[in-house]
């Protein structure tokens, strides 16, 4: 068997109904063969599935719930393949003591990686049980049927998963040889089942790490330096030890924290110590007004990531433009939180990290403990949208827990901790130029992007990625920044256009030096690259005298790409050749996320008030192809959310800073889109039941920004190339 054996190939020729499928002997996994999704690195079948004595089934996933509904979707997949009722299925996720290591829950990959693994593992578990049933019932496996875990022969013989399973039944490596059901046999997959986590979330159930309470639990807070690189010169710790409720003051170099009996006491001490501490300031930050010039002036590792040379028609005109995006904050509604208990050389940690195993690696390095003495358990938190303070506060909690052995300590960051210290989505600059032939076709495309890394997540060798580690008396430096490999990429994510162009050259300038702390924010570089590419496509279409929809279609051979653009245009009532009336405009943006995941086309309607500079986003239409749909309503929820968040980035958001530090530290200085500002949204899902399912959480981001800018350009004739499109900038364009 070769690499890349797909579900579809398995499914071929199996017919509409697969009642049972026996594992065929002799189909062992070849040496060096890769298995699909996360199964490849986690092959133990009993690491994924357990048939419980109580009549339930437990599945284990390394991916975690971030509010995206993944646990609901994974349950649908597993219950589907196992042929059991959903109610029987438990799911355990993100726990270093129990689950497979699936790295991070990021990049809209959970359905692809965890979903593929669970689907195959469940299908294999079912096939093994059917073989056992066949032996017990004296019937061939092909004649058995399964209903809610009960296996029957046509003659009335019956047994069940729970009767058949033994302690070693699944103690073997997965082979991925049992064919999952074909799409047309699905009863659970493809349905809008309700999320399992929502009832608790709307009734005050204890579901977040913030809601955890352990016996004798104490509360911790940390005093952060006033700026990056500032050093704590001195503080009279004794004075603060006498404040009400204080159990411990923890200081290690410039790391300063308090543990108190009550939460408000910890906060009061934190604030008092912040005001009293003497700090030596760190190096000045660059000039915020010239940040993109500054970034471009820094040393860069430049690489041509795509080059195409070919015979081209003669160019009759050339265009060029530059675009920017600012630093963006994750801006989680709930500040990051963790709970830790340190006891006899062991550490238990409850966290809303996106990766329990990578976090454990960095905690072990920071605390000089062996990894097997640390247990990291995922519990939900506020939405993160990438790397917010979740991992950092875990180390804070661990350090404070060490100061009070045997006592659990809950630490939640304050609002300004989160805004000032979370790693931001990096500022980026994009320059593009292109030539057009007489027929309006693009004959040459040259694109450059400048960016820091888009991931400084924990789990990498060569340092510790957690904030507090950098402030210790013997500081542990962060590992050097790395280029995220293509095809997914980081700053160069979606930098290569999906369009079929005869000649192109795309250059990624990777800037190692990071003036502001940065890491992964939903979409990584794709948001800015798609904004630039799709804005420029409209600029080229205008220069060619072409309609933006037609202009894109003409440069796209990929049928699924053309389909989403046409679907969005039809749904939005797109009229070729429409001109803005000075106020109202309609704009298109399109991308295939990462060039290998979901296709999204967005059409935005805007109204521009020239006097105030306010852009009112009236309506957003989306057409989405994410392959096979597992849960249509969950998918729509992710798309709607992605649209609103991207609209907020586009219209309102930028991290503020001056020479001394971060100045956007609350919701007044970092405004996001409000109820009174959100657009009407219509989403069309193009189901492709025979294509692999693709994640969609990030796919709408870039197209939304471009669609808005293109709509503003159509409305007013003004092209805005620097994000965000805030009123001052819009007014300046008309001045």
């Amino acid at each position: 068997m070769t690499v890349g054996l797909t579900r579809r190939r398995f499914g071929q020729g199996l017919g509409a109904v697969v009642l049972a499928f026996s594992l065929r002997p002799g189909l062992a996994v070849a040496e060096g063969e890769h298995l699909p999704g996360s199964l490849d690195k986690n092959r133990a079948l009993d690491g994924w599935i357990r048939i419980d004595r109580d009549g339930g089934v437990t599945v284990f996933a390394g991916k975690v719930e971030l509010g995206q509904g993944i646990l609901t979707a994974l349950r649908q997949i597993a219950a589907e393949e196992l042929d059991i009722d959903l109610e029987r299925l438990r799911i355990v996720s993100g726990d270093t003591t129990q689950t497979p290591n699936e790295g991070f829950t990021s990049g809209s990959q959970s359905i692809e990686q965890s979903g593929a693994a669970l689907r195959l593992a469940a299908a294999e578990a079912r096939a093994i049980l059917l073989d056992l049933a066949a032996a017990r019932l004296g019937a061939s496996a092909e004649r058995l049927t399964v209903a809610d875990g009960v296996i029957s022969t046509p003659e009335g013989g019956r047994t069940s998963y729970w009767e058949l399973v033994g302690p070693d039944t699944f103690r073997r490596d997965a082979t991925a040889r049992a064919a999952p059901k074909p799409a047309d046999a699905h009863k659970l997959v493809g349905k809008s089942l309700q999320r399992i986590d929502i009832p608790a979330k709307v009734t005050g159930g204890a579901i977040y790490v913030q809601d955890m309470r352990l016996p004798g639990m104490l509360f911790g807070r940390v005093v952060r330096p006033p700026s990056y690189g500032a050093r704590l010169l001195g503080i009279d710790e004794a004075a603060f030890r006498r404040m009400p409720g204080v159990v411990a003051i923890a200081r290690d170099g410039s790391f300063l924290g308090v543990v108190a009996a009550r939460e408000e006491q910890a906060i009061a001490v934190r604030n008092a110590m912040r005001d009293a501490a003497r700090w030596q300031n760190g190096p000045a930050l660059p000039d915020a007004a010239r940040i993109h010039d500054h970034l471009k002036s820094l040393p860069a590792r430049s690489e041509v990531i795509s080059e195409k040379q070919g015979p081209v028609a003669a160019a009759v005109q050339g265009l060029s433009a530059s675009y920017t995006r600012p630093y963006l904050a994750h801006a989680s509604i709930g500040p990051s939180c963790a709970l830790a208990r340190s006891d006899g050389g062991r550490l238990d940690l409850w966290t809303h990290t996106q990766g329990v195993f990578p976090l454990r690696r960095d905690l072990a390095a920071a605390l000089a403990m062996p990894e097997d003495r640390i247990a990291v358990h995922h519990v939900q938190g506020s939405g993160c949208y990438g790397q917010n303070g979740a991992d950092d506060v875990a180390l804070d909690a661990a350090l404070l827990a060490r100061a009070v052995p045997g006592r659990a300590v809950k630490v939640q960051w304050m609002r300004d901790d989160e805004f000032a210290w979370e790693p931001f989505g990096p500022a980026m600059g994009m320059s593009v130029s292109a030539d057009l032939a007489a027929d309006g076709g693009i004959v040459d495309w040259r694109y450059e992007v400048w960016s820091n890394t888009h991931s400084t997540r924990p789990g990498r060798p060569g340092g510790v990625a957690l904030l507090a580690a950098w402030h210790l008396d013997r500081p542990l430096a962060p590992p050097p920044p790395e280029i995220i490999p293509r095809p997914s990429g980081g700053g160069d994510r979606n930098a290569i256009p999906l369009y079929d162009l005869p000649q192109q050259r795309v250059t990624h300038h990777f800037i190692p030096e990071m003036p502001l702390r940065v890491s992964a924010l939903r979409t990584l570089g794709a948001f800015a690259n798609v904004f630039a590419i799709e804005s420029f496509m409209d600029e080229l279409a205008a220069a060619a005298g072409a309609d933006p929809v037609e202009f894109r279609i003409r440069h796209l051979r990929d049928g699924r790409a053309r389909d989403v653009i046409n679907a969005a245009a039809a749904k939005a009532g797109w009229k070729p050749g429409r001109h803005g009336d000075g106020t109202h405009g309609q704009g298109l943006g399109f991308a295939r996320y990462k060039n290998h995941a979901s296709y999204v086309a967005i059409i935005a309607d805007v109204a521009v008030d020239r006097a105030s500079g306010v852009i009112r986003l009236e309506k957003v239409v989306a057409a989405v192809d994410s392959g096979q749909i597992i849960n249509p309503d969950g998918l729509a929820n992710q798309i709607e959310g992605g649209i609103i968040q991207a609209a907020s980035w586009t219209l309102k958001e930028q991290v503020g800073f001056d020479r001394k530090g971060i100045t956007s530290r609350d919701w007044d200085s970092y405004p996001i889109l409000r109820f009174t500002e959100v657009p009407e949204i219509a989403v069309e899902l193009l189901d492709r039941p025979n294509e692999p399912p693709l994640g969609v959480g990030e796919a709408a981001g870039g197209p939304v920004a471009a669609a808005i800018a293109n709509a503003v350009a159509q409305a007013t004739g003004k092209r805005l190339r620097d994000l965000p499109l805030v009123p001052a900038r819009v007014k300046a364009a008309f001045a």
Partner: protein, 156 residues
Amino acid sequence: MAEIVQITVNGATHRLSLEPDVPLLYLLRNDLGLNGPKFGCGLGQCGACTVLLGAEAVRSCVAPVGAIGDLPVTTLEGIGTAQNPHPLQRAFIAEQAAQCGYCINGMIMQAKALLDHKRDPSDADIRAALADNLCRCGTHHRIIRAVRRAAREMQS
């Protein structure tokens, strides 16, 4: 100095020894073990901590316990339970009006205050009532639909 604070929450009266300037949020979460109101900003800007004080929606993160007086406090837990949900809670489930859900306490409590004095709000009314409640996941439309659905259900 700590004082004896008497406070009625979800119909039960409690007497606690507390500094009067302690924000109500910490009493609710840590002394009474309630999960509904959430710490979001501590500044009264985001709405995650919203509770009802009498009939008014207030930000419990900036409301000192000493200023509550005799007005009863109602939290998310006080309007309904998982077994017996309030029409708003039922509507939020029916509309799947949450992603991470951290803001949802505030959305439901703010909407409760709206529906208590306006039985049939327009979409514009709902948007205006929730304008100071922040949602980062972008679940706004589902929240609006859920409030509308609850209003319909409560009228019938």
